[in-house]
């Protein structure tokens, strides 16, 4: 299985290269990025051949992993679909619903598998909750709270706070993971989103919202909050985290999929650190992508899943701007 890496803007490229090499029978044959110098440095650092263009990188490839800036996803997915290779695309899928729909349609037309990078689907603690909900242990889920809060991502990549490249700020960056987990847990679709956002944190450093909270209502009436704020200070022991709590008619459960860590204290800064020992969800996600590509089948997490989560994030941004709840039209949900 020959895999081309298209775009290295997303920090996950650094993790996926390790996961791809750990997957059986996988060779990362080329990397390409619109920023040739960045591609050259990344290729040298990770010992991956650098292609001059994405099209060149796709020559002879069986699959493509897209870690470019969100606004570049559509162009790269279309190239990969035209080349007839399976696609794993970073989240959020696109910076507009139209582009996300184009991405899904392009892969459907070309008949290639399209997977959205939602690693939480492959987290054993999250899977345990999904099984518990599906088995009805909590009764009917009525309300959820979710938080996917992080440090300011511009510490790693400036484009996360560039509205033209990322499609927004904190809401666009962080809503999709929990939006997808909620759809997965509930088996229901989002119908309405209300959100508030502000730029009180790092108000001078960036021009997008740095904090935001959305409330999503689902087809069955279940409501869920998603705190997507970049509200963890730089001294936080980790990049941030993700937590959810689900209240059902028969019980409540909470999940912190990154809770499996050792707590370390050092004599020097950073004084406190959390050393993760849980199973790496990225590895299971990459393994599933490779299997789907090899078997030319639909992956367990699809482009449609990415589209629907992107709709929630975009609706949250629209609601935060207008001050009104934003409906997700049924036509968009099909």
């Amino acid at each position: 299985m020959r895999v081309a890496l298209l775009g290295i803007a997303h920090v996950h490229a650094d993790a996926y290269i390790v996961n791809l090499r750990a997957a059986a029978g996988v060779e990362v044959t080329a990397v390409a990025d619109h920023d040739a110098e960045a591609a050259r440095r990344w290729g040298a650092a990770h010992d991956v051949p650098v292609a001059a263009t994405a099209a060149e990188a796709l020559a002879g490839a069986d699959a493509a992993v897209i870690c470019a800036e969100t606004a570049r996803h559509r162009e790269l997915v279309e190239l990969a679909a035209d080349a007839g290779v399976a696609v794993l695309c970073e989240k959020p899928l696109a910076t507009s619903v139209e582009e996300a729909e184009t991405i899904v349609a392009a892969c459907r037309t070309a008949g290639v598998p399209l997977m959205t990078a939602f690693p939480m689907r492959f987290s054993p603690p999250m899977q345990a909750v999904a099984e518990m909900v599906r088995a009805g242990r909590l009764g009917r889920i009525r309300a959820c709270t979710g938080a996917n809060q992080s440090e300011l991502p511009t510490r790693h990549r400036a484009w996360f706070a560039d509205p033209d490249l990322a499609g927004g700020g904190a809401l666009m960056d962080h809503i999709v993971h929990i939006a997808d987990a909620l759809r997965w847990f509930l088996g229901e679709e989002p119908v309405e989103v209300f959100a508030l956002a502000n730029r009180i944190i790092a108000s001078e450093a960036v021009r997008v919202e740095t904090a935001g909270v959305a409330v999503v209502t689902f087809t069955g009436g279940t409501f869920a909050s998603i705190d997507a704020s970049w509200s963890r200070p730089a001294t936080y022991p980790r990049w941030g985290g993700l937590t959810m709590e689900l209240l059902g008619t028969d019980g409540v459960t909470s999940v912190d999929p990154f809770r499996q860590y050792l707590t370390g204290y050092a004599a020097e800064e950073p004084a406190t650190r959390w050393v993760a020992w849980g199973s790496d969800p990225n590895q299971a996600m990459i393994d599933e992508f490779i299997a789907a590509a090899r078997e030319a089948r639909k992956p367990s997490v699809t482009g449609e899943d990415g589209l629907r989560a992107t709709q929630v994030a975009l609706a949250a941004g629209e609601s935060a701007r207008s001050g009104r709840p934003v409906a997700i039209a049924p036509a968009q949900r099909s």
Binding site: A143, F194, L196, I200, I201, T210, A211, S225, P325
Partner: protein, 344 residues
């Protein structure tokens, strides 16, 4: 028996009346006695805490300096107006009243009578909440951006006359429980400009939200995410908070800070009528609160929480209730325009 000082008469003999009585006894204040319609309970509380069993509210008012209203919420208005008319200072349990309009009348009546109206928003006196507010006030977190508050319980259980679950009397969970965090959110992040809420009722209790998620937008632009629940499984009383500011983050969680954890074989401890969070500190927050109130009445301290704060919390609760009914965000009058928009 009770010490020198202001004579406090407690109106009510139920759970919160007993909490107040215990605090007054603990601080050696002058507990004059109780007045209650529940005459069978009156003898019990006077036996436990001392003081007289007054034959009527009027008899109590005639014999005390301070009327401490621990009666059900819907009775606050008439009791406070009567106490003010008699020229008595008033301590009133939260929520200040059943409706904002009632609270406005109470505030006006107490102003006219020249008496204090002190509303018992006790959360301001819980050490973790007070410490977090102090950190904000000291500028340690920078300007608050996102405030998260949760107060999750299985709901009040009383064998009889459970007025808590009668919305006409208590205002339901939103007014009885969430009002704590509406007040605290205002204390931390200032006036509230709008409220949006989602909730659900228990089967057979249409209209009475048992679990609510509220998003508040403060005039400053700060966001408060407030959860209140009477729908959590027994035996639970969870309180959580988090304040994310421009330059720092503070969080607390009653389950993680519980210093004593015990597991008993068998069925475990019995569950009381109304669960309260365990906060084993030297002085109960209720005592700290009443000690402060008595010092305010003696002229020695400025109130940490005012009747205007009590009214503002009611206005937030009313907006949340309206949002629950309509499904739309509700603007609060007089809280100012939306701040400049952010985002792409």
């Amino acid at each position: 028996m009770a010490a020198e000082g202001l004579r406090v008469g407690i109106v009510g003999a139920g759970f919160m009346a007993q909490v107040h009585a215990e605090s007054l006894v603990a601080m050696d204040a002058c507990l004059a006695g109780f007045a209650s319609r529940a005459e069978d309970v009156l003898d019990d509380v006077t036996a436990r805490f001392g003081g007289r069993a007054y034959g009527s509210f009027d008899e109590l008012v005639g014999d005390v300096d301070v009327v401490d209203v621990c009666a059900p919420t819907h009775l606050h208005h008439d009791l406070v107006l009567a106490a003010a008319a008699a020229g008595r200072h008033v301590i009133c349990e939260k929520p200040l009243a059943r409706t904002p309009e009632q609270a406005r009348q109470m505030i006006a009546a107490c102003e006219r009578a020249g008496v204090h109206l002190l509303v018992a928003h006790v959360v301001r006196f819980f050490p973790e909440y007070a410490a977090a507010r102090a950190a904000v006030a000291a500028g340690e977190l920078g300007e608050p951006a996102v405030v998260r508050l949760a107060r999750l319980t299985s709901g009040p259980r009383k064998a009889q006359d459970n007025w808590f679950v009668e919305e006409e009397k208590s205002g339901g969970m939103v007014l009885d429980l969430m009002v704590h965090d509406f007040d605290y959110a205002r204390w931390v992040a200032g006036d509230v400009a709008s409220a949006y809420a989602k909730g659900f009722a228990a089967p057979g209790e249409a209209g009475l939200a048992r679990h609510v998620l509220a998003l508040l937008r403060h005039a400053s632009g700060a966001i408060s995410h407030i959860e209140g629940s009477w729908a959590y499984p027994l035996p639970t009383f969870l309180t959580r908070g988090e304040i994310a500011g421009a330059s720092g983050l503070l969080s607390w969680d009653s389950t993680e800070t519980a210093p004593v954890r015990t597991a008993l074989a068998g069925d475990g401890a019995a569950v009381g009528e109304v669960l309260l969070p365990e906060s084993p500190v030297r002085e109960s927050p209720y005592t700290t609160q009443l000690r402060h109130f008595l010092r305010v009445l003696e002229g020695g301290e400025t109130p940490i929480v005012t009747a205007a704060d009590g009214l503002a919390a009611l206005e937030v609760a009313e907006a949340v209730a309206e949002s629950l009914r309509t499904g739309a965000p509700v603007e609060l009058a007089g809280a100012g325009a939306r701040p400049a928009e952010v985002g792409a």
